[in-house]
Symmetry: C2
Subunit: 358 residues, 2 copies
Amino acid sequence: MASQILRRTLGSRYLANHRTFSSASTPIRATLFPGDGIGPEISESVKQIFHAAEVPIEWEEHYVGTEIDPRTQSFLTWESLESVRRNKVGLKGPMATPIGKGHRSLNLTLRKELNLYANVRPCYSLKGYKTRYDNVDLITIRENTEGEYSGLEHQVVRGVVESLKIITRQASLRVAEYAFHYAKAHGRERVSAIHKANIMQKTDGLFLKCCREVAEKYPEIQYEEVVIDNCCMMLVKNPALFDVLVMPNLYGDIISDLCAGLIGGLGLTPSCNIGEGGIALAEAVHGSAPDIAGKNLANPTALLLSSVTMLRHLDLHDTADRIQNAILDTIAEGKYRTADLGGSSKTTEFTKAIIDHL
Amino acid sequence: MASQILRRTLGSRYLANHRTFSSASTPIRATLFPGDGIGPEISESVKQIFHAAEVPIEWEEHYVGTEIDPRTQSFLTWESLESVRRNKVGLKGPMATPIGKGHRSLNLTLRKELNLYANVRPCYSLKGYKTRYDNVDLITIRENTEGEYSGLEHQVVRGVVESLKIITRQASLRVAEYAFHYAKAHGRERVSAIHKANIMQKTDGLFLKCCREVAEKYPEIQYEEVVIDNCCMMLVKNPALFDVLVMPNLYGDIISDLCAGLIGGLGLTPSCNIGEGGIALAEAVHGSAPDIAGKNLANPTALLLSSVTMLRHLDLHDTADRIQNAILDTIAEGKYRTADLGGSSKTTEFTKAIIDHL
Ligand SMILES: CC(C)[C@H](C(=O)O)[C@@H](O)C(=O)O
Ligand SMILES: CC(C)[C@H](C(=O)O)[C@@H](O)C(=O)O
């Protein structure tokens, strides 16, 4: 089963406009943002496993987060952004949101600066980790740059405020293209566009129009449109009704978390952001868990599975398979599990168990 | 258990500004919109059960729906609206959306015309009808007039469209007041305000500010704020974490359907709309199911449970208890169930079984 899931969720190249990377003999440079809180510990786990698996990757580590250098007062340096732009591939841990006026979330800033237009979250049941749902196997693809996240808001008169949701043809086509390309490359059967065009006829209507245009170019992939409220009801009743889901920003935010909940939560789901020019920034989407930071208690699974999506983006499929299987087998075996999964293993013990399964 | 749920979900008066109704000796006039598709059949079920239970209600029936009179070309007559305004209490079946330009959904038109500002959906596990979740017992209270449903949309330039989400202090306070009043009147412990104020700081921020103001007046009710994506994840992982949820329009649309999914779907959940001036319009929120219309196959449960909320609004608690228990007991017994619940009973057989349980 694991191998079937590998093939269908992550088994082919991850990117639409992927570029050619250097052969395995020269190491590939990849950016690493360990992030805040538990970020450094779970990043250490990735580094150790990559080292043990002899992955030909050289990390270029940069600190992005809220524990800032008092001299620069910087949460995010120019050098960090340049590193991703140059390497075109990176991995990021959780980042806290800077406190104080005028600071938006670092996640949003990265999305904007690197033009990360599609967020891809595979979500599949983990063998041996029981939830109410078996055999979940979904991919949510979220438009990541516009919609309800425009940041355009104002007070009309006292007590009356408005936010603008912006939908463009360009961004909608781009994410729809990515979704269908992904579906085809991964042997998926169906793409469902999620919307509320019965209410937002112009914005969500344009999104659907773009999806339909792209769907026509992929006659081998089934296409359907599902209203978001109905989609959420169907997902909790029977997630097997869906395959690949593509949607505007806020719906993607909501539905990807709902799907993560079906299989156990954000601690277990990988995520990868796809940007213009072939950039891929994989990330753990859970929080930085400051309460357990530095205590060797964090579960590195989400970051590890995200790092696997990064390897696939680099076409390093054999290494990706080896590492992904070692992670899934360790969880399935159930001997070493961190506290969030009901076990009592330390982060380092769980990491070592994965290395032993390589 | 049924009686405990009765008390906590529907056991007290349903309304903030409820008015005094005539005593049981004079019949109470209530408006009935049977609606489209299966609407007439499930309305018939309500009428028969009310008749058998000797409910002192006289129905004032009006047709609102898409099968229109060719002479008037009307989906919704002035007389229908006046009937609800006069009676202040009504029940509506499902209505299809008129096809063709310029027609918005009849549900939306009724919300707007009657100023139905709060939509209340109790959602609780039905004994004997197994889903993946036990003991769900949630109330979603949705702002029903503004937010993403403003209808304000336009094309900025070709390929760029925008929708306006409007949040007002007045509507936010009104629905927050209703939610806290409801929580207190029904012995509920906690109100959770659902939002995305980390992104929509002004609009959702104003909504939260209003909820906080009202929360201060109810020190006996716990208050918390939960981001919508996280809320959806927690709902599918463990719905027992929540009690009463209050939120802007679109989030309410999404979360109330998600919650319905947890206990089996929209065919099983009651809904009641609360309007200014003490109006209550109870409704089945599922579709009109034209494929099975007229075949005596429809499940009247959602409309029946909605009619019970109407009785509670009228302070007819004993009758409400009797009918609600008869419905829940019939389902729990499992002998008579309609096809959607895996049974083979006709609508009329299920109705008769409920009457036998009265
Ligand atoms: C932290 C928050 C701004 C972010 C979002 O809303 O996109 C998060 O929920 C996510 O899904 O990555
Ligand atoms: C039919 C549709 C316009 C409506 C809504 O979005 O409000 C429905 O989903 C509901 O929840 O009553």
